[in-house]
């Protein structure tokens, strides 16, 4: 089945979808969609534990979508869906890193590997904390010349809504929207040159 409409994030499937639907949706992406897809992959590369490239994570995301290990919910734009898959890949990679570290440290057998998985997310992972702090610094650096953007970045990192950011930092709605547009352009224009940072 397939019933697609054009949405802000590329084609949107409105009924249950299959791997074939996903392949068709990806094939139908416009040039601009593909630029956005690369920007998303570059973005999420910042969340990975190692120096994997944007093409690695995008490749993995599409592979997971096509093999059915990740379902494409109806009504979700394909780009938003793939961004979510990439987010999931980042989490999986960190979980795996942590498990491997624990296994190496304890020299345990396969049974212990399963047990370790139960506690994988329970404590802070020092390596991940350092990596995340470095990535946050890179994002801040990207917008270092734009004080308004830095306020929005700080608010987003704290999980604030747009209204809350405006209230906390004394920004007008117009100022917020204008700044967001600058941020979008920066994210796309730099292709997040930060991939090499």
């Amino acid at each position: 089945m397939e019933k697609s409409t054009e949405g802000g994030g590329g084609p949107v499937v409105t009924v249950d979808n299959t791997a074939d639907d996903i392949a068709r949706a990806i094939h139908s992406l416009s040039d601009a969609d593909l630029v956005r897809l690369k920007a998303l992959a570059l973005l999420w590369t910042r969340g990975l534990p190692r120096s994997l490239s944007w093409s690695d994570i995008l490749h993995e995301a599409i592979a997971r979508a096509l093999d059915g290990s990740r379902k494409w919910p109806s009504g979700v734009p394909i780009l938003a869906f793939l961004s979510g898959v990439m987010r999931s890949i980042c989490e999986d990679q960190w979980r795996r890193e942590r498990l491997e570290g624990e296994v190496l440290a304890r020299d345990v057998d396969a049974a212990d590997l399963c047990a370790a998985g139960d506690t994988a997310g329970s404590a802070a992972d020092p390596e991940r904390v350092v990596s995340a702090a470095q990535s946050l610094a890179v994002v801040w650096q990207l917008f270092a010349a734009d004080p308004c953007a830095l306020k929005i970045i700080a608010g987003l990192a704290d999980g604030l809504t747009a209204a809350e950011i405006c209230r906390v930092y004394g920004m007008s709605e117009r100022e917020y929207d204008t700044t967001r547009k600058r941020m979008r352009r920066a994210l796309l224009r730099c292709g997040l040159d930060w991939s090499a940072s």
Binding site: H27, D31, L37, A63, L136, K181
Partner: protein, 77 residues
């Protein structure tokens, strides 16, 4: 003083910035990449080629290569 949790902050930030990228209009993409559209086409071509190795041409019963985990391959090497 509140505790700082960089992984959580980074994930929230990447999610929010990802939503911004998804919401970007075609015009904004072209403005960001240059008005001539050259870099848009170049980038699109690069991504399309990479995707093509996974999905093959539409109508093909099988992709050109199996959609296996490239990350796992990298890690194994």
């Amino acid at each position: 003083m509140t505790s700082w949790h960089p992984p959580m902050e980074l994930t929230r930030l990447l999610e929010a910035l990802g939503e911004e990228i998804v919401a970007t209009t075609e015009q904004e993409v072209r403005l960001a990449c240059g008005l001539d559209g050259h870099s848009v086409r170049e980038t699109a071509s690069e991504v399309r080629e990479m995707i093509g190795t996974l999905t093959g041409d539409l109508g093909d019963p099988e992709p050109r290569i199996a959609p296996i985990s490239l990350i796992d391959m990298r890690r194994a090497s």
